[in-house]
Amino acid sequence: MESALGPDAKFRDGLSKGQIDIPRCEDCDKSHFFPRINCPHCGSTTISWHRASGMGEVHTTTTVRRRPESGGDYNVCMVELAEGVRMMSRVDGIAPADVKIGMPVAVFVGDIDGNPAVLCKPAEG
C-alpha cells in the first residue's frame, strides 16, 4: 500500500520521531533532497526512503551577524551528508566563527523553536 503521506510530510514525520530519512531513486540509485515525488536527477517517480548515516561535512558556511541583545551571532551552513545530498543546517556546540568548510560533522535531529530540525555538531575523534 502506498504511503498516506506526501514526500514532505513523510520527511517531517520521520524528523518528529528523531529520524533523518532521505529519499533515493530506485532507477538511478541517487539520493536527493528536498523530498519530492520525482527524482531531480533522472525524472523517475520510483522513490524509496533510507535512514541517513548521520555523518556529514560542512560544504559552505556563513555567520549571520545579530546584536547580542537579540541573541547574538549564529551559524547557517550547507551540510553534505555521506549519502551525497546537501541541505541547509546549523552547526551547534562551537562558536559560529569556528565552523569551517570541510569540517566533518555529526548530523542529528535537534530542535529549533519547538520544531524538529536537522542540526550538526563537530564529529568526534
Partner: protein
C-alpha cells in the same frame, strides 16, 4: 535557429525615475514616471504601446496593475517573474513578440519605492520550506554561502571582494545620478560592519527607490526615432534553482550557459565587448559573472577585479554607472544594466562616457544566483 533573432529588435527609448528617494510616490508611480521618460525619449505616446513587459515586487498580478495604471490595453503581455533578471529576460520575449507581429511597440518597465516605504528589500517571497527554520537572512546569506565557497576553492580574498565595491564607487563618483558618490577605499569596505561573513555592509547593494523603462521595436523601423538605435544582438537565459540550498555548485552560476548562448547568437566573443553591465547585488556577483561569462577563467575572478582593473581607466569597464552597489538598487536592478549599456552605446551615459562603444553586455541575476540572463547589445555598426 536562435541566430534568427540577432539584430531583429532595437531599443529606441530609455528612461528612469525616482532614483534615491521618491518621497510620497508609490512603486507604480515610479514605474509610470519611468515609462513616460522612456516614451518621451523615443518620441512616442502611451497610446502607441501595445506590448507590456513588467513585474514588480508588489501584488500577485503586477503586470495587470501596471497596464491598468497606465491606462493601456496591451495585446501582448509578459509578467514572467525570475527576480531581478526579469527585465533582461523580457528582451527575448519582447523580440519574439515583435517579430511575430504580436505587438509593435514593447514597453519594458519597473518601479519601486522600497527605500522610502520600508527602508529594506520588499519581497512577496515566502521563506523556502527547507531553509526558513535556520533563519538565514535573505538574500545576503545565500550570497555569503557562495562567496565563502569561492574563497575556499580558489583563494579569493575579502580584499578582492572589496575591490569590486571600490571600483563601482569610482564609476559612481562621476555619475550625478548615482546615490552614493563619496570616495571609498578598500579599508572602508573591510572595516565596515560585517553582516553575513564574509560580506560586510559595503559588499551589499544599496536599498534605494527607483524605476526604469525601455522601448523596444522591430529593427526595420529602428531608425525612425530621435535616438541612435541599440540593437539586441543576443539574449539567452538559464536558471539553476530557486532556493540557495539547491545550487549544485556554489562557485558556478547558470551565467555560464546564458552567456555562451547569448555570445553565440550575437556572433561575438567576450574579447569584442567594450563595456559590461552586470547585476552586482553583492560584490561576489561581479566576480562570479565575469568568470561564468568568459571574461576570465573560473577561479581567477578575484585577481581580475583587483587593483582597479574594472574601475575607470582599468582593463575592462564594468558597471560604468556605479551599479547596484553605488548607483541605484530598488529591489530589482536588472533593467538598469540594459539602460546603462544602451546609453554607453548611444553616447549619452550620465557618468563616464566611454569612447566608441559598439558592443555591450547587460547581465541580469534573479533570486539567489538562481536565474541568469545575458544580453548582448550593439550599435548600428554591428548589424
Amino acid at each position: 535557429m536562435t541566430d534568427n533573432m540577432r539584430g531583429k529588435s532595437a531599443i529606441v527609448g530609455v528612461g528612469h525615475a525616482g532614483f534615491g528617494e521618491a518621497h510620497g510616490f508609490s512603486a507604480y508611480d515610479v514605474m509610470a514616471q519611468s515609462a513616460h521618460a522612456a516614451l518621451n525619449d523615443a518620441g512616442l505616446k502611451l497610446s502607441d504601446v501595445d506590448g507590456l513587459f513588467c513585474t514588480m515586487m508588489e501584488d500577485s498580478m503586477p503586470a495587470l496593475m501596471a497596464a491598468e495604471y497606465l491606462g493601456i490595453q496591451p495585446r501582448y503581455i509578459d509578467g514572467t517573474m525570475t527576480g531581478g533578471s526579469s527585465f533582461v529576460n523580457y528582451l527575448t520575449s519582447a523580440t519574439m513578440a515583435l517579430e511575430a507581429g504580436l505587438c509593435d511597440v514593447a514597453l519594458i518597465c519597473y518601479g519601486s519605492n522600497q527605500r522610502t516605504a520600508s527602508g529594506r528589500l520588499v519581497t512577496a517571497s515566502k521563506l523556502p520550506p527547507y531553509e526558513g527554520l535556520y533563519s538565514p537572512r535573505y538574500p545576503i546569506s545565500g550570497y555569503a554561502l557562495a562567496a565563502a565557497r569561492h574563497m575556499y576553492e580558489y583563494g579569493t580574498t575579502r580584499e578582492n571582494l572589496a575591490d569590486v565595491a571600490v571600483a563601482a564607487r569610482a564609476w559612481a563618483s562621476h555619475n550625478p545620478e548615482a546615490f552614493m558618490r563619496d570616495p571609498l577605499t578598500r579599508e572602508d569596505v573591510l572595516s565596515s560592519r560585517m553582516v553575513g561573513d564574509p560580506l560586510t555592509k559595503l559588499d551589499c547593494c544599496l536599498v534605494t527607490d527607483g524605476g526604469g523603462a525601455i522601448i523596444l521595436v522591430r529593427a526595420d523601423r529602428a531608425k525612425d526615432f530621435p535616438n541612435a538605435p541599440v540593437y539586441v544582438l543576443g539574449s539567452a537565459a538559464e536558471s539553476s534553482h530557486r532556493q540557495i540550498s539547491q545550487m549544485k555548485d556554489f562557485t558556478v552560476t547558470a551565467a555560464k550557459g546564458s552567456g555562451k548562448r547569448a555570445f553565440a547568437m550575437a556572433d561575438v566573443t567576450p574579447a569584442d565587448i567594450d563595456v559590461v553591465e552586470l547585476y552586482d547585488a553583492f560584490t561576489i556577483n561581479t566576480i562570479l559573472f565575469l568568470e561564468d561569462l568568459g571574461f576570465c577563467k573560473k577561479g581567477e575572478g578575484g585577481a581580475f577585479v583587483s587593483e582597479g582593473r574594472i574601475a575607470p581607466g582599468g582593463a575592462l569597464a564594468v558597471n560604468t554607472n556605479g551599479g547596484g552597489l553605488s548607483c541605484v538598487h530598488p529591489g530589482m536592478y536588472g533593467i538598469f544594466t540594459i539602460i546603462e549599456a544602451a546609453r554607453q552605446i548611444r553616447g549619452d551615459a550620465p557618468g563616464v562616457q566611454l569612447k566608441g562603444v559598439d558592443l555591450a553586455v547587460a547581465h541580469g541575476n534573479g533570486g539567489v544566483l538562481s536565474s541568469q540572463v545575458t544580453a548582448i547589445l550593439g550599435s548600428q555598426n554591428t548589424v
